[in-house]
Assembly symmetry: C2
Homo-oligomer: 488 residues x 2
């Protein structure tokens, strides 16, 4: 019952697909570019949602739900926005099918007066509502989040990382002042950083996108960027300061406390099921998925072993006692007492599913008041005392969470470079990959030239101040080094 | 600051719209038939989701997510199914927009090879996956639920009750035997009954649909039906035994433990945001929304009253102490200390939002160690001791929950009739409405005739056995009386 996981050194892309298949996270669907998120993958997403949702609510946000469909004319109200999304829109044009010789065909009489776009993002439909909700400064701020599916007609897709339909949350806030909107944008970036690092154990760099990488319609796009095990970067979340662009496009003004009529300031911010791709590529190994305990749907699984019915009863009793103790400490635990599968088969299955800890319990453990404990991340096994097992497990889960973060952080540090010449840059990008800090003159032309010549893009202008210098390509002045990488 | 709620006796339909508007539950959207679910409405839906999701998980189900889009050809694989849904499909035909003189137009070059249907329900796309997941009896049962949006192109819509896009959950299970699938169908009906009665405080009748009212593709459709304050019935949830229809359409067979290859047995079951419409029409009154405590996003709100800054501090301290005590008992509570609104304004606003209990706390209450307590459902006010307030409130919330159910049950009982002749039937349906039990000969012809002549439909054949008799229309034998009503 060997698992069929390609080594990541051999073929990283195939390894990624194998992890997803063996971990039963998702399938390709018959609709090109869409995915089926299987129960193991969805349970992981639910845990990510729960943690994020709590963080959104703790920062004063409420959830709401806006329509899936956006009238075609709405998209074109904000010029940048429509330019960014026009080429990847699923367009609804008809509303009925009718019988035909080979099954069904679209009923031409059901053509819509105005075509509808399946939302690629919801700024336009939401700002249309905000116009009705906002009259005075007393109606502000509006702090709303939406959990939803969105569709972007992508040609090259990859499970979780880039799919035509994906699940996400999108926050959309409205404010009376520019300052408040900028603060909100940064606050949500910090929420994403915290979530990525403390829950996903995925270290990130925070920064601002260059103009060419900005969200269509934004004044500034802030982002978290991580580096994966193949040394490619991943944009993991974005928080946009939208200025008054959407307020102007949808004519949303408010009366200030001084009686002036002013346009409303906006932000939007989102993370998606793409995060699951990042999580996989951050921690997993050639045995399968590795999950951080805080997000793992099951944190511990117990495999009981017996040879006789008498032993079975005793072993299961022992297991249930331990489970009860663990549940008291809120450990998510699963007892795998299926009888038609060998322990080895179960070990493999749960290893591929990324469950952080395994307890194996057989008759000898009962005799000696022991439990065998095995870590998914390191593979370490140890025999531990039955006494105090629950606290031991709870502590170990915390240790694993920390260790995963430290390991990832060390890996990213080891693969982060700072260069001073374009030759050095090209050599590092080509031979080592990873994050590369370098000076850039701030122009779109130079950015484009570097991208064309090296396939590396500017991931962000880091938020921390850096030293001044000269662009590695043009020699023109540069305020600080920016972060380059080849990216997904 | 009077609320603008039409009396329900005067115009029930307008009353319903007013409740939704004043309770800030939802708006009509610019896309015909779609709705914007506002934070108050969505928080209610989240509570409904949480309770249902726990019940699904307690009965062994897992969540997953399947694509929004269904290839057109999939729909036609099950003959009844496509017949049921073909006339209400949003059809995606293109994938790009391009600039034009008046903004954007659909790019004709982006026409899809095969049109995609926005899912009206997911049986077809899910059974296509199940074919890949099921080989042997060891892979069964599959017990999956999905929380999702679906689209049905309805011509006549009404917020929550019937919208083009709605949110729902759809369970889809696969079983080795007919018996197991039938048991699952009935189990989920019972979950819905429990949820409706114990959480929504909405009494329901359980039964089976007649053939003409069956889900398209089902062998049997079980349902819960309730009666609203305007004496019209509402189908509030359905659970379908699908037989082997979808397994045959998608060629899903399994190898049994005896080595035979057999088609898989199926069920599906769902409830939607329609339930919110049912909830509103079950309990609300001319002052606005009335919510059962178990589902109310806020169960209690406190309005503090003060005249001086010194009083303010004392009153707010007193409020916070009470809040802390209430939170310890897991009461969901909100302190409304907004300074630019009068107490009366706040009373109105929270009344319209359906919050079950109000505490009013002013300087005199501090002096006397009192709290003023007002119930949303009865309007009763009382002054109660500060001492023991938390337990008192918790108990009162339970009392209110029970009372709402009893009141609704009494109302439904009072409006349930049993008739023996068609004349009597017509008179009751026309003059009183409500639920009407009557004998029916079991034919679609008679059912249709009754519907044409009275606008009443058979809501269900009740699960409890009734006495035999003769059809009120044809005089032919009838096994038991069935439940008629005019319905939404």
């Amino acid at each position: 019952m060997a698992k069929k996981i390609t080594s990541k050194d051999e073929d990283f892309s195939q390894w990624y697909q194998d992890i997803i298949r063996e971990g039963k996270l998702a399938d390709h669907s018959p609709v090109r570019g869409c995915m089926v998120i299987r129960p193991n993958g969805y349970a992981l997403w639910e845990n990510m949602q729960d943690a994020l949702d709590q963080m959104f609510k703790d920062t004063g946000h409420e959830n709401a739900y806006f329509p899936l469909f956006i009238p075609k004319s709405f998209l074109s109200k904000e010029a940048q926005h429509v330019e960014g999304f026009a080429k990847e829109c699923a367009v609804v044009t008809h509303s009925r099918l009718q019988s035909s010789d080979d099954g069904v065909e679209v009923d031409p009489d059901s053509k819509l007066e105005e075509e509808l776009i399946v939302r690629p993002t919801s700024e336009t439909i939401i700002w249309d509502s905000y116009r009705n909700w906002i009259q005075s400064y007393r109606d502000l701020p509006i702090l709303i989040n939406q959990w939803a599916n969105v569709v972007r007609w992508e040609m090259r897709t990859r499970l979780f990382l880039r799919t035509m339909e994906f699940l996400w949350q999108e926050g959309h806030t409205a404010h009376a002042t520019k300052e408040e909107a900028v603060d909100e944008t940064k606050q949500m970036l910090e929420v994403y950083r915290t979530f990525a690092e403390e829950y996903m154990a995925m270290p990130v760099v925070t920064g601002v996108k260059t103009e060419s990488e900005r969200f269509a319609g934004a004044v500034d796009t802030y982002c978290i960027e991580t580096l994966l095990q193949d040394n490619k970067a991943l944009q993991a979340g974005t928080s946009h300061f939208l200025g008054q662009n959407f307020a102007k496009a949808f004519d949303v003004k408010f009366q200030s406390s001084e009686g002036q009529h002013e346009y409303v300031w906006a932000t939007s911010w989102g993370v998606s099921t793409r995060l699951i791709g990042g999580l996989i590529m951050t921690h997993s190994d050639d045995q399968g998925l590795v999950l951080p305990p805080k997000l793992a749907p099951n944190q511990v699984f117990i495999v009981p072993i017996w040879k006789s019915d008498e032993q079975k009863e005793q072993v299961l009793d022992y297991c249930h006692e331990i489970m009860d103790e663990l549940k008291e400490l809120n450990v998510r635990i699963k007892l795998d007492h299926r009888e038609n599968m060998s322990p080895g088969w179960k070990f493999n299955e749960h290893e591929a599913a990324g469950i952080p800890l395994r307890l194996t319990i057989g008759p000898r453990d009962l005799e000696n008041n022991n439990v065998e404990l095995a870590r998914r991340d390191t593979g370490n096994k140890e025999i531990v005392d039955r006494e105090g097992i629950a606290q031991k497990v709870a502590n170990l889960l915390e240790t694993i969470q920390d260790k995963l973060f430290e390991t990832a952080q060390q890996r990213i540090q080891d693969n982060t470079h700072s260069v001073d010449s374009y030759d050095e840059f090209k050599e590092v990008i080509e031979n080592e990959g990873g994050f590369v800090y370098a000076h850039w003159d701030g122009t779109a032309e130079t950015e484009e030239k570097i991208k064309d010549e090296t396939k590396a893009t500017i991931r962000c202008i880091p938020l921390e101040d850096g030293e001044e210098g000269e662009c590695m390509v043009t020699g023109k002045p540069s305020e600080q080094k920016v972060l380059f990488a080849r990216a997904y």
